[in-house]
């Protein structure tokens, strides 16, 4: 996907490839992700009421936007494009569940602040909402759990979201990441099924749920936190699926988040190190 919740991409020109005459290619890919996630949110809420309350989503979007504005101003001396903060806010409100309000605020702030605090050669290496959600799931299990709302488990909403998501990652030239990951997940599901003795359908079931829809379209495709080459991105997607496979064998419920947390950042770090070149500290966009 052209962007998820990172803001580096918003401070860069979106990649334009191939023919540009089509109306599709004139779409500014910066706005496709926020539009898609808003559509998913609206569709999910209007059809299944996935928002437990409006307060939490307003809280996370508000916190993300405010944190982005303040940190962007302090660190970069300029007002940032807020579409990535908007996506982070929505992602956080969908991906974590808590009967209290503070986890939503803290998670949104951690997600945004991670872009400014955890940098290597002027770039952040973690997908922000992945970092925030993983951190909260790991350190605050007494107050926080992952997404539980299931979009009704129906076939049609799932297909619509998958088709829409695939179309947009294709538009953003990130389809190869999603496909690599999905194929790897399915293969590893077969392997897990053989190892655990559970049915293949049980192993592949998570892929049909909403958590993965957000994961494969919004997290693993994030340009600022993915590596630069097509082969590299596919390799990273494979390794994410592999680490997730290992974590799943050890019964980590939130295996995909932790796998991306581990693999994505290491891959980005290695690439930045290999391609070491002068980059202005804290100026290329947080």
């Amino acid at each position: 996907m052209s962007d998820t919740s990172s803001s580096d991409a918003h401070d860069q020109k979106p990649p334009v490839e191939g023919k540009t005459s089509s109306w599709l290619h004139r779409l500014d890919t910066r706005y496709a992700p926020p539009v898609l996630i808003t559509l998913i949110l609206l569709a999910g809420h209007l059809s299944f009421g996935i928002l437990e309350s409006y307060k939490t989503i307003l809280l996370t979007i508000g916190t993300s936007v405010l944190t982005e504005l303040l940190l962007g101003r302090i660190v970069l001396g300029k007002w940032r494009n807020l579409s990535s903060a908007y996506i982070t806010g929505i992602s956080v409100s969908i991906l974590i569940r808590s009967p209290m309000y503070w986890p939503y605020i803290v998670c949104a702030m951690i997600s945004i602040a991670s872009k400014y605090a955890l940098r290597y050669r002027g770039r952040h290496t973690w997908n922000p909402s992945n970092f925030g959600v993983s951190w909260m799931l790991f350190t605050a299990p007494f107050s926080v759990a992952g997404l539980s709302i299931q979009w009704g488990n129906d076939l049609w909403p799932m297909l619509v979201i998958w088709l829409l998501g695939l179309f947009i990652v294709w538009r953003a030239n990130r389809l190869h990441i999603t496909v690599t990951y999905v194929v790897s997940f399915i293969v590893f599901s077969l392997l897990r099924s053989a190892i655990t003795g559970d049915l293949f359908w049980a192993e592949v079931a998570p892929l049909t749920g909403p958590m993965y829809q957000l994961f494969v379209f919004f997290m693993i495709t994030d340009p600022p936190t993915t590596v630069g080459t097509r082969k590299g991105r596919m390799l990273v997607a494979f390794f994410i699926a592999f680490v997730e496979f290992v974590l799943r064998l050890n019964q980590f419920i939130y295996a995909p988040f932790y796998a991306l947390f581990l693999v994505g950042s290491v891959a980005k770090f290695l690439e930045l190190r290999r391609n070491a070149r002068p980059v202005e500290t804290a100026s290329a966009g947080a």
Partner: protein, 599 residues
């Protein structure tokens, strides 16, 4: 200079970030730091701090009942512990009208016997179920018990028994407190319902008790002889493929008519609990239905003609959870009821939180807000039954919540596999065959029940550890009952695959109380649906006589009010289901008042 400034900014940002990272750990530290007994005698500490202490006296009371879970079709064996995870229930009745509360427990295996413990008045009980014909009710081919509710359906003064099962629902007529006669066929109930809740209510206020029966698995499934394994919910939170609900209208001649369709109650969600009370002052009881795998439902009673579902409009049916309990509590002493619904809370896995729906003040339209989090009664566990009651007679209603799903092998968890499947598509989740083998693993097992003490301002403190409530069984059904006519609420808890807990409650003596035993004349004789409001120096407190409340449970019929240190009651107002209102001025405290409806 510029580099220094950037370095300082970066350092500041990193310190700020570090602060954010440790915030959850700091909150955890302070949220778990609580009062612990400093005295060597925990009872002394509990009396001093909280005004009461609980002691399990089941053995010395002679209550040796042990619940047995169902054994079902072998096709379900790989997940049997979770399928067969219900059926332990307790309901309170004074079946022989001797003035002492008796206890009825259900068991859930073919051949297992239910128990009716007659209160002998000296702190001991004797199982008389066999003698009165209420023990051998789990015969092969007829299904097994899930719960029971008592109500005087023929207004003869003796409480009759409706037994709901995964199987054939049964009605037993109480023959003057000496025995029971099975009258199921004459009553006209369906041949098979996989039910997990039933309540008596007089929905049309005609003076005859009607019956709401809630289905869980669809009735077409005989869970002992399955032709398919596609019996599971189609979704973890949006399932509508459960058993249908029923409303049976009492015809006044020992028969019941199925009026479900015309009443608008023909839902097929996975119903686990229901409660009825006149929540809007219309003179007719509204109906609240808690559903597993979906949203709860709030049915507005339209003058006894039919019901209108208003879950979405009232904010109650907004977020789908795993509703397993309905209980009504006036926790702020304002004379209005909040509705408590239990759900699932498992650290780091599922944070549904329990709900406490309180009507919004000043709102012309009936809207509810969930205040469970603010009041501190949200995070239970895998919660089932819950009951309100003033445990220390301080004038503020407290809350007991049963927890625990499957306590199998310690140190194991089925949660990973559970979450894997429940997140999947309908085709996967709805087929039991796709569910991974439990292999003896626990799931939300060994959980302690919650005892939340109301500080009088609507804030609750969890005190189970400190007042003797430390047992960790898979608790299901809870009933509040005064077992010794002392003006004190004892607690009885039915546990799955286990013995019940029978807590004797010892309360500090300086607090006062007042109780009411009601008997209807124009209203149904059990007075189910009557609301008593007591006004005293401590405020205004209302309670409703229920025909089954909580999860598969029924409290004592008598209403109990703690008064704190106040030694005078200004007034008690009784609103009968018939619509008549009766006022008692300055009723004596520390007394059980028997009140018959004015003709």
């Amino acid at each position: 200079m510029k580099i220094n400034r950037n370095t300082i900014i970066l350092l500041g940002i990193r310190l700020f970030f570090l602060g954010l990272l440790v915030t959850p750990l700091i909150i955890r530290h302070f949220s778990t730091a609580g009062k612990r007994p400093s005295a060597s005698d925990p009872r002394e500490f509990a009396f001093r701090q909280f005004g009461f202490y609980l002691r399990d006296v089941a053995e010395e009371a002679g209550i040796h009942f042990v619940h047995q879970s169902p054994r079902l079709d072998p096709k379900l064996n790989h997940i049997l512990p979770q399928i067969a995870s219900m059926g332990a229930s307790v309901s309170v009745v004074d079946y022989d009208r001797d003035g002492w509360n008796d206890l009825y427990f259900t068991s859930s295996r073919y051949g297992a016997r239910n128990a009716l413990y007659r209160n002998l008045g000296d702190g001991t009980f004797r199982d008389v179920a066999g003698e009165v014909g209420l023990a051998d009710v789990n015969r092969p081919g007829t299904g097994v018990s899930m719960g029971a509710v008592w109500g005087d359906y023929d207004n003869d003064g003796y409480e009759d028994l409706f037994l709901y099962k995964w199987g054939r629902p049964e009605l037993f007529h109480n023959d003057g407190g000496t025995g029971f006669t099975r009258v199921t066929e004459a009553a006209g109930f369906p041949a098979w319902v996989n039910a997990n809740t039933a309540i008596w209510l007089d929905y049309n206020s005609d003076g005859n008790l009607d019956l709401f029966l809630g289905g869980y698995y669809p009735a077409r499934f005989d869970l002992w002889h399955l032709k398919t394994t596609r019996i599971m919910p189609e979704s973890f939170e949006y399932a509508r493929n459960g058993g249908r609900n029923y409303l049976f209208e009492n015809q006044g001649d020992g028969t019941f008519r199925d009026v479900t369709e015309q009443a608008g109650l023909s839902g097929t969600r996975w119903t686990l609990a229901a409660g009825a009370a006149d929540l809007r002052g219309t003179g007719y009881p509204d109906l609240f239905v808690a559903n597993d795998y979906g949203v709860d439902e709030y049915y507005l009673n339209e003058k006894g003609q039919h019901f209108l579902e208003a879950g979405a409009e009232t904010n109650i049916g907004f977020a789908p959870k795993s509703g397993m309990n309905v209980s009504f509590g006036d926790v702020s002493n304002r004379g209005t009821f909040g509705i408590y619904v239990t759900n699932i809370t498992e650290n780091g896995v599922l944070m549904q939180g329990n709900n406490f729906w309180v009507p919004d003040d000043g709102n012309a339209h009936l809207r509810f807000a969930n205040l469970a989090g603010q009041m501190g009664i949200s995070l239970g566990g895998w919660s089932y039954g819950a009951q309100f009651g003033d445990l220390n007679n301080d004038g503020a209603t407290d809350l007991y919540v049963a927890n625990g799903f499957i306590s199998a092998r310690k140190g194991t968890s089925y949660w990973y596999d559970y979450s894997k499947v429940t997140g999947g598509n309908t085709a996967i989740i709805s087929d039991a065959n796709n569910w991974p083998d439990m292999r003896g693993r626990s799931q939300s097992g060994y959980q302690q029940n919650r005892i939340w003490l109301n500080d009088g301002t609507g804030r609750f403190q969890e005190v189970a550890d400190l007042v003797g409530g430390t047992q960790r069984l898979d608790s299901r059904s809870v009933a509040m009952v005064d077992l010794r006519n002392r003006g004190v609420l004892d607690i009885v808890v039915a546990n799955q695959n286990n013995r019940p807990l029978v807590y004797k409650n010892q309360v500090v003596s300086e607090n006062h109380w007042i109780d009411f035993n009601l008997e209807g004349t124009r209203s149904n004789r059990s007075a189910i649906g009557a609301i008593v409001t007591v006004k005293w120096a401590g405020g205004v407190h209302s309670q409703v006589v229920s025909g089954g409340i909580g999860y598969c449970s029924q409290n004592q019929r008598r209403l109990h009010f703690g008064l704190g240190t106040a030694s005078q009651v200004d007034q008690a107002v009784i609103r009968w289901p018939s619509g008549s209102v009766q006022t008692l001025d300055h009723p004596d405290p520390d007394t059980i008042h028997s009140v018959t409806e004015s003709p």
